[in-house]
Subunit: 98 residues, 2 copies
């Protein structure tokens, strides 16, 4: 039934904590090649809940952030930290090319 897991297509708004959380959960889940069903099973939450969280629809509680983090094998705080911007926006000189 499940489609192949696909990573987030864009970076989250760093000011929007729900979006940041949704981004990391989806990214870490896809890195494990888990479906939402699988993640839901691993953290004993409902599949529709996991789906809602990944769509920034839910005001997740700390204990559920913890459960999801544990299932994904990461520390809870890493799921709230905005990701680094794309390389193109880093202030870094491009190497000279011939």
């Amino acid at each position: 039934m499940s489609a192949k897991p696909t990573p987030p297509t864009h970076l989250p708004d760093p000011q929007n904590v729900r979006d940041v959380l949704a981004y990391w959960i989806r990214l870490r889940r896809v890195e494990k090649e888990w479906s939402q069903e699988r993640l839901a099973l691993e953290c004993e939450l409902d599949r529709t809940y996991v789906s809602a969280v990944e769509r920034s629809r839910w005001n997740v509680s700390l204990s559920n952030i913890e459960r999801i983090a544990q299932a994904l094998g990461v520390e809870p705080w890493t799921l709230l930290r905005p990701p680094e911007p794309e390389p193109k926006s880093r202030k870094r000189k491009a190497p000279a090319q011939a």
Copy 2:
């Protein structure tokens, strides 16, 4: 009415996210010399709620973590990251002494 704000007396259990959150909220609040009433006012939450959070009694929601972080002027993820251990527990050779 309020007693002078006092900082946390010990480091939180780094495995316990509620304790980590409670530690940082209290520390950051005391750095601002704010009472719990003042913090509650700043983030439009109840004083008893702030008090419960600082005693690790509450399963805080993401939106309230965000409100508290905003009032304290810090990023939400910094309130969930376990603090560095005390210098004495760092793995570092003590200088030779006579």
